[in-house]
Amino acid sequence: MSELSQITAPAPTADAVSVSPHGGTALGPSFDEGSLVRPAAVEASDLVIAAADGSLLVHGVSVSVRPGEALGIVGESGSGKTLTCRALLGILPPGLSVTGGTVRVDGVDLTGAGEREWRDVRGTRIGAVFQDPASYLNPAMPIGAQLEETLRVTARVPRRQARERARELLDDLGIRRVDLVLRQRVAHLSGGMLQRVLIAMALAADPAVLIADEATTALDVTVQAELLDLLGRLRAERGLALVLVSHDLAVVAQVCERVQVFRDGRVVEAGATSRVLRAPGHPYTRELLRAHAAYGLERFLA
């Protein structure tokens, strides 16, 4: 836990600024101090997501991540964290829609955007990886063909250079025996390997934002740690804004300098990871931490 406090945000002055943009209004728990300093790579404010029958699923959530920053989103299932992420990608499930708030991705205002506008943004400015990587790849096609397809569609790499770019991309993600992997299919590769391939696909067009929604949840702990390291490195190297969704506080603690705690479609607590984990302000956060302390491995080692 001690190294947590040493992680500092890329903009050291960010935490010092606490001026309200509207002058005098009380800061909500999700207010992001950094947004005043540098333009956010991805930003949603007062996002409201409603079902077709009018019931609200997300009640005015604000999320903002600057380039090179990692934001952790934690909360129980059904707390709206995945819906919020899907809204940032413009891929809400059928029947749900954004009924309030604004969304900006990499400087593009997507508030009320249509499918065509979203398409221009997905893959090129914002990418995402999810749980269960195997289901995001066609089992009947070699990995290489699918990666090349993504490169050609999102990064507009010419057909002839696609294979070379695919090789570079996987190589960059620390995959050994790249040529072998490119020839193989889903059934041949481990979950960790597949998730790396999907990260490569998500980053094919060098987007500004990467959303990792429970991307390491189904993997074993060592592979999970390797992938988290990889995400951390990519963030530093590419200035990637990372949104890491997890129900696992340890995962968030490892990668993110800021964390937002979701519950029932609201952000109940937000702030520097070290602060939230050390001195949780909201009862729900305390409960989450207590659950971790009660059922986590530390208890058995103590």
Binding site: F130, E149, R177, L180
Partner: protein, 284 residues
Amino acid sequence: MNTVSRLWRSGWTVRLALLILLAVATLAVAGPAIAPQDPLAQDAASALQEPSWAHLLGTDYLGRDVLSRLFAGAPASLLSALAAAAIGLVLGALPGALSAFVPRVGEWLALRVVDALLALPFILFAIVFAALLGNGLPQATLAIGILVAPGFFRIARAATLRVRDSPYIDAATYLGASAWWVLSRHVWRQVAPNLVVAAVSALGGALLAVASLTFLGIGVQPPAPTWGGMLSSDLGYLGQRPWGPLAPALAIVVTVGALNVVADAARDVLGADAPARQKEAVRV
């Protein structure tokens, strides 16, 4: 090619079936050319003979050489079965795959048409079809093709439905892939193995159907030899030549059997849902 070599290696029955199909295919192409005698030449003096060196499979009631008729009748029997299966594949598979992507109304309509076709009695349909459009082999082939189509429709639709809601299809759609792109690039590969298997077994069914129809005199008129037609003419002389129908019957049964064996093996080899086998595991 890879698939054929894997089929070949999957056991001696499959090997035998493939060899039989190769021989049958040769007959379908070159049957009339390699027939030892004129299949239509009648010789009343030597009618209903036992097999001999002059007539390896004997002669029929008009003294025609049975072996020559078997060879010469192969193209009509086999090629029309092939055409019928192909017609069924085209009429069934593409609409079947598309039916997973059209609006509900279209889907409902397509399914009801298929249900109606499935309910039609096969022989009656073919007879009515021939009565309406003329009694010829092309008409009979088309009738069989139409009746084989629902099978392909259902298989293609089921396989498409299974992959349609996969996250990787969603992901492709979110990146702007059209329904056609999804169909031709992602769905097709998953559906194709199932269709290959279905096509091989449909070929067997179509062959039987062609034989049944020609047996009944639909499709091909008497002087011209067909396997089904030979059966029906031999049947009248069972008293004099009880083993007479054996040759054409065996030709049909062995071919259909070989097709079924190959279809079964192809299903195992192509393994519709897990196309490639584990060769070498790669770890992170």
